[in-house]
Amino acid sequence: MGDIIIGKIINTTIVSWKVDINSAYVATLHASTVLDRSFNPIKDDIRKYFDIGDVIAAEIIAFNRTRDPVLSIKGRGLGKLRGGRIIEILPAKVPRLIGRKGSMINLIKNETNCRITIGQNGWVHVQTKDFIMEEIVEKVIRKIEQEAHTSGLTDRVKELIQEELNKRRGEKSGTI
């Protein structure tokens, strides 16, 4: 409960969205929690807010054995994600990508100057200013995923970023 995840809208009902959250269970996002008022399906068109294929960052607010997960998008940085791309990693490796008190993720953000939202479900949203930076970030994330069980990883990641940045300095960057 309380986990932040990244999901993809795959269907709508009259009053809610169905969200693929990379799990065995399909999550529900109720329109009333998005609008902060009761949702009137006669007057309101649900697809005006989120449409099928949209990608959102959300919080899981309820889930148990009898009930599929329920989402909310109240909170900083939550809601529809625009631009950037999703990188998929094993959910079990997510804590390592975040690092102790966010050390790893902050390192990546500071060194590469990009925006990253990590879903506990293993979907990571990355937005960079150009394609080369995006390649570097993906490489870094893959390294963390592969070497999650080793120690001294933060230092090696820092080295890798520096190395990659030096290597590509002067290369023409395709602005996204």
């Binding site: 993809k8 693929d20 959250i21 099928i52 294929g53 994600l81 394609f131």
Partner: protein, 268 residues
């Protein structure tokens, strides 16, 4: 995981990302527009098949096997043997595949591979006739897709041709009009080495060998089978999008440019 119905819904982010990369000359896996993924081919993979091959095209994986039997020829070609191609997509090949009889996709792959082989005169089918009009060799080429990561056509064509290249035919003698097989084998004579090149149109960009992510966002695709003289022997345009004459010309040139490299890998 859930992907069964979710797979068909392409996230807006993903689609725009691939399209915007294409516009700037990039692809999602870092390849150039005319680059194939890594191709690995193993042969003589299945002992009980008369010919076999296992092909990896990136993470796309196809196993092809040839079985031979003896039967009647088609009435319109009484003095020629028969080759039929059949394809099955295993549910293990992708999370969204379901078990069941071959669907449209599998049938299309089988048909396109079949036509690539049929029209390139890879084998002199007259040589497959035992008693013309009565008994001929029938070659079943069966493709099993074990990994689906885009471009089944080119991988399937490589696997099928490679399997035929190491197919052995039994010797026979005819005694009083009866065919007697002798357990001695000769390699099937291969007369041409067709390869197929699939080109995807993403936005206004043409790229060869689309991977699964690219296939999900492409507008349309076109597959050319080319013989050793770089002549076009079969074409299949796929998906609901369109091509202009210019694009078709450009695609043919791309196919003719990359096909010799594929043929080299096939013959190696």
């Amino acid at each position: 995981m859930i992907k069964v119905d979710s797979y068909k819904i392409i996230s807006d982010l993903e689609k725009r990302h691939i399209e915007s990369l294409a516009k700037r000359g990039y692809r999602i896996d870092g390849r150039g527009f005319k680059d194939y993924r890594k191709i690995t081919i193993e042969t003589d993979y299945v002992p009980k098949a008369e010919g076999s091959a296992r092909v990896f095209l990136g993470n796309t994986q196809i196993v092809a096997g040839v079985k031979i039997s003896i039967g009647a020829p088609y009435p319109d070609t009484p003095d020629a043997g028969v080759i039929t191609v059949n394809a099955e997509f295993s549910p293990m090949a992708a999370p969204h595949f379901e078990a069941g009889p071959p669907g449209e996709e599998a049938v299309e792959v089988a048909r396109v591979v079949d036509r690539g082989i049929r029209h390139s005169d890879i084998i002199d089918k007259q040589k497959l006739a035992i008693i013309p009009g009565e008994q001929v060799f029938i070659l079943f080429v069966d493709l099993y897709v074990l990994g689906y990561n885009g471009n089944m056509f080119d991988a399937g064509e490589l696997a099928a041709v490679k399997a035929l290249m190491n197919t052995k035919l039994p010797k026979y003698e005819i005694v009083d009009g009866e065919v007697k097989l002798v357990p001695e084998w000769t390699l099937l004579e291969i007369e041409d080495y067709p390869v197929s090149v699939t080109i995807a149109k993403i936005g206004n960009t043409l790229v060869v060998d689309p991977n699964a992510n690219e296939e999900r966002v492409l507008d349309s695709r076109i597959t050319f089978a080319l013989n050793s003289r770089s002549e076009i022997v079969s074409v299949q345009k796929g998906e609901a999008g369109t091509f202009t004459v210019n694009e078709i010309e450009q695609a043919i040139e791309m196919a003719q440019e990359v096909s010799p490299k594929l043929r080299e890998i096939l013959k190696a």
